[in-house]
Symmetry: C2
Subunit: 235 residues, 2 copies
């Protein structure tokens, strides 16, 4: 573990609470438009479009398309499913930007600040660079560097996403630790030689849908939150 | 100017004083190796290799090659010119890394911190991502995002370098301001529609070689240093 120079983070769900944040932004949109709906279900529905739309890129059905654009495609589909019609293009653009302004889990900003004192900290998200940059300023996330899918033109868990980040850092895979609340993300990074830290976020999908809490035995670290991660990493 | 959302910076010479920093690192190398030389002339000589080696990439004589590797090629040539032989490969690697650890001009960290409160601030350098990331931690440069040549696989003043950065920010060119001490860099950015801020650094090349201080009339802002730039940008 002494070789680790950089920690790179999954963001949606691991660093920020997308579900309550998107529900909040969607509720504000509803109030403005005079529409009533279950906005938490709306948030879940929107996130439900995430993997299917990325799959269109992964399979080649779509050429490389950044996440902002996939979010917008999913939103248009979702609005139809909710029976919400007659929303202007500009309003759809604005609501799409909700993903740039997500609230962090309470331990994230302080935990990241501690880790930054000793390590390079960066994003390793499927979110595009502008999304990550705007979110960092909004949520107080002190990244040293924005990496991830857009720079590799490949969505996680494609090995190219992780390895492009490692290459841009000028490091070897074993000098980089992937941090995520999602086991499949860590398994994919670990298969490329990165170190792995699992930080479960049991409330990511709300109280009714708990993710599997049992960590794969291959993970290098299991931490309760980012403050615990910082302590385990010696800062 | 109200439309500007992001400021992107040339780094070598504009944000950091490469000349005295490289002379210092080279002198430390000399002391370790028991070699005497004019280390300021060594710094000037090394920087003198910069444009010729980037030209090899620009003309296609070399495929895309990141600046760390070009710096190393230039160093090997320079050591020969200084009659310094028998230096091990690992020592050459280490000395190449000197470019990752350059001291800022005194006004840079505080001026950037002020600008960061209102704007996205990023690098728009020919230096590679790892170089910029390590330098930021060493010199206290609070970048929101690392952009530049490596992400475009093109060296400034190629329009692609600037336009790739603008695209990654999700902005229009007129929402991005290029900041540099070098007029050719600003003219190239301005030709692509970016706003421009000229911050002369008369001591970049030492007391004997003063760059032309007369700003091109097309520049949107001329500032004495980064604190003055922050004031002119309303922060």
């Amino acid at each position: 573990m002494d070789d680790v120079k950089a920690l790179v983070f999954d963001v949606f769900g691991t660093v920020v609470d997308w579900r309550s944040s998107i529900a909040k932004h969607a509720a504000a949109f509803g109030a403005e438009q005079g529409i009533e709906a279950d906005w938490t279900a709306f948030a879940d529905g929107w996130r439900g479009k995430y993997q299917p739309y990325m799959n269109k890129v992964r399979t080649g059905e779509l050429p490389w398309t950044k996440l902002d654009v996939l979010h917008r495609m999913g939103l248009v589909e979702l609005l139809g499913e909710f029976g919400i019609n007659d929303v202007g293009e500009h309003t759809i653009d604005e609501l799409t930007m909700a993903w740039h302004y997500l609230d962090p889990w309470p331990d994230a900003p302080s935990g990241l600040s501690r880790l930054k004192a000793k390590y390079i900290i960066g994003t390793m998200s499927n979110g595009n660079v502008a999304l990550m940059t705007n979110m960092a300023k909004y949520a107080g996330l002190p990244w040293d560097v924005i990496l991830g899918a857009e720079l590799a033109q490949a969505y996680k868990p494609d090995p190219k996403t992780y390895l492009t980040g490692v290459e841009l850092l000028g490091l070897y895979p074993e000098q980089v630790m992937m941090v995520a609340a999602h086991q499949n993300d860590l398994l994919a990074a670990g298969a490329e030689g990165l170190k792995t830290a699992f930080v479960p976020r049991p409330m990511e999908f709300g109280p009714a849908r708990k993710p599997d809490p049992t960590p794969d035995p291959s993970f290098d670290i299991v931490a309760a939150d980012f403050r615990d991660l910082a302590s385990q990493m010696g800062v």
